[in-house]
């Protein structure tokens, strides 16, 4: 029985060895222990001994060849004229970084681009150039489709399309070469399917041995969490996992706690409060309900400068009218808005966006603006009144604004919109004019 001569594994982390020289010729008689050939690894050169007696036959690797560990390079046979060739060793090197291998033209490779955030492959829709074509950097080379869109990929450099390494209709892993662009016209342009690409040589495994099979009882995908998704209205609601679970189980919406201005984070005990909140869909009109209370803070108070500018440039000297105008335009109804400062109040109507057209009126206001910036108050919690109330208080360099109203007077979205818009105008009144 002939004995295979293989490229030995020599070092601790070695994949291949270079045959420096054969010390025996095909047909030579060899004895076990005779030095057969010399191998060079990164560490050293060493002689490899014959493991059997016989004749060296079927030599399939030449001096200078890099041969993968485990590859059969010759045989030791019982007779010198055994002409069964040993299988030719596969090249040990995987295609190098430029995507070329010995039968591919030289050049720069164009790879499948990463287009999406979590995209592994791209579908090559069509080639816009053929192998051998001259290409310019900005020429469209091919079209790629991902789950999101189709996109044209440019050549990226001038030259010649020397090889296409995937065909239209193939899914190509991101980063894999799909084309080679050479500087000179290729003698034999290559067109090849991706599926024709040879995988890098794997470590040989005895093919009669069973490989461990991957476990099949793993879930195909992670189970979806049962927690309700955070509401889109406003920031993420802080609530304990248990609270979220209970809310989900009972069909309750934690956002309603937030809209009713209950402080976060929410715990299981808050579920009871949530249950006691009137359902906005079924609550009877005029029923006494817990008040909404929303607070906003601005980083600066833009009002004094704005009032001064309005007086000087436009002759608008009624600060209260200006304030009412800024608030009224934040309302869908555009007013009327009452302004109250330490007692007396005046109500204003606004005809248009123009602050010049704010006039005093006897109509019932839909919003009361309580300007307490000159007081030492830092917070109010007055509960709902007949009319929604916006209270302004000074806080450092900015203004703290609290909106209080009964849920029936204003729905959550309107309330949030109002206080958000108004706070923006107080911080930077010029915005109002834009």
């Amino acid at each position: 029985m002939p004995h295979d001569v293989t490229m030995p594994q020599l070092g601790m982390a070695q994949d291949a060895g270079k045959i420096v020289s054969w010390l025996k010729s095909p047909g030579d008689a060899v004895a076990k222990g005779d030095a057969l050939f010399e191998v060079e690894t990164d560490k050293a050169t060493m002689e490899v001994e014959a493991q059997a007696d016989g004749y060296l036959t079927g030599v399939s690797a030449s001096e200078g060849d890099d041969v993968p560990v485990g590859a059969v390079i010759a045989r030791i046979s019982d007779s010198a004229d055994d002409d069964t060739p040993a299988p030719a060793p596969e090249p040990s090197e995987a295609p190098d970084a430029t995507g070329t291998s010995d039968d591919l033209p030289e050049g720069h490779s164009v790879t499948m681009p990463q287009l999406g955030m979590a995209q592994d492959t791209g579908l090559l829709v069509s080639w816009h150039k053929s192998p051998g074509d001259e290409v310019a950097a900005a020429d469209i080379l091919f079209e790629v489709e991902t789950d999101k869109s189709t996109m044209e990929v440019e050549a990226g450099r001038d030259g010649f399309l020397a090889a296409t390494l995937a065909e239209a209709g193939e899914d190509v892993p991101v980063g894999n070469p799909v084309a080679i662009i050479s500087d000179t016209a290729p003698a034999t342009p290559v067109a090849r399917a991706q599926s024709a690409a040879t995988p890098p040589p794997a470590k040989p495994v005895p093919d009669n041995a069973k490989e461990p099979a991957p476990k099949s009882d793993k879930p195909a995908s992670a189970p979806r969490p049962a927690a309700p998704a955070p509401r889109a209205s406003g920031d993420r609601i802080l609530a304990s996992p248990k609270t979220r679970r209970l809310a989900l189980e009972q069909g309750l919406d934690l956002a309603r706690l937030a809209e009713a201005s209950y402080p976060q984070p929410y715990h299981a005990a808050d579920i009871e409060t949530l249950r006691a909140l009137p359902d906005p869909a079924t609550a009877p009109q005029g029923a006494v309900a817990a008040a909404r209370r929303l607070t906003a803070e601005t980083t600066q108070d833009g009002l004094p400068d704005f009032f001064a500018w309005a007086a000087e440039a436009h002759g608008l000297t009624d600060a209260d009218a200006l304030l009412a105008g800024l608030a009224a335009t934040s309302l869908a109804t555009k007013g009327p808005v009452a302004v109250e400062r330490f007692g007396p109040s005046k109500t204003f109507a606004i005809a248009s966006r123009s602050l010049a057209q704010v006039t005093e009126t006897e109509d019932t206001p839909v919003l009361l603006l309580r300007d307490l910036r000159a007081s030492r108050l830092s917070a109010v919690d007055m509960g709902a009144e007949d009319t929604p109330v916006l209270t302004l208080m000074a806080t450092g360099k900015g203004v703290s604004i609290t909106l209080e109203c009964a849920p029936a007077q204003m729905d959550a979205a309107t309330a949030i919109q109002l206080i958000t818009d108004f706070a923006g105008r107080v911080e930077d009144p010029i915005r109002h004019l834009l």
């Binding site: 030995p8 601790m12 560490k43 493991q51 560990v69 005895p206 009669n208 069973k210």
Partner: protein, 327 residues
Amino acid sequence: MAKAKSKTNTEDYLRMYRQMVRIRTFEDNANQLYLSAKMPGLTHMYSGEEAVAVGICEALTDDDRITSTHRGHGHCVAKGAEFKEMFCELLGKEEGYCRGKGGSMHIADQSHGNLGANAIVGGSMGIATGSALRAKLNGDDDVTVCFFGDGATAQGLMYEVMNMAALWKLPVIYACENNGYSEYTKTEEIAAGSITARAEAFGIEAFKIDGQDVLAVNDLTQKLVARCRKGEGPFFIELETYRYHGHHVGDINREYYRTKDEEKDWKSNRDPIIRFRAHLVSEGIATEEELDAMNAEVEQDAADAVAYAEAANYPDQSEVDMHVYAE
């Protein structure tokens, strides 16, 4: 070479020869499995040291225990293990001695008293001494042999357990296989003074012996085992030997620590198998032809075992968390 005693020893001698050939053949095959990238991980070859394992283990019964080392295939074979289960273990197959969980450096064969190879240098000295303590406490008459290399003499554990073994007269034999190298370093660079003197400091009788002479090793061990059984232990033997391969397979560029001439000298002039073979032939115990036939038979056994192991199944993945805890 110690003198053959009589023809009645023929059977013993031929078994010793055969066991040495089995070890060498096992290692040649293991080396080939590594070289051809068929074996996971790497391994440490015992080739060259066969007379130590065989000389000692042939003086023991299956009730006697040994502890082995990372260079342990020789001890395992000498203590009676089968090729098939050993190769299966080397390849990580389910029929291996440890169901593929131990590999080359952890083969244990309890049925023949092999408490296992140990991949911590010097790590089994406590285990061997503890086995001897158990024997003494139980009144059992088995003896435990602790195999270790010259490198392990640098571990503190050795001195702790030799101290207790000497204090309590435990039936343990410390067998120091001095193959001249502590991994990639000459022993003389890591060991100050005399190795046997260290045992003698505890009042332990210590011997230094040619580890390439299987009969000499066997004679001495037989005497020491008998004395251990009478409560005269412990003992210490330093066996001068040589490893033909590097520290491990893949340690091929060795010239920075030892010369090819030195290797050649040991292989040509002090090989334990060649020496014993010549002795068997010259004493008329066996003919060259008989010994060749024995070699061929062992080689066939090994080839069959390798083929069997290559075709054998890997353990089922469900075994991965089996045997973490005993029932």
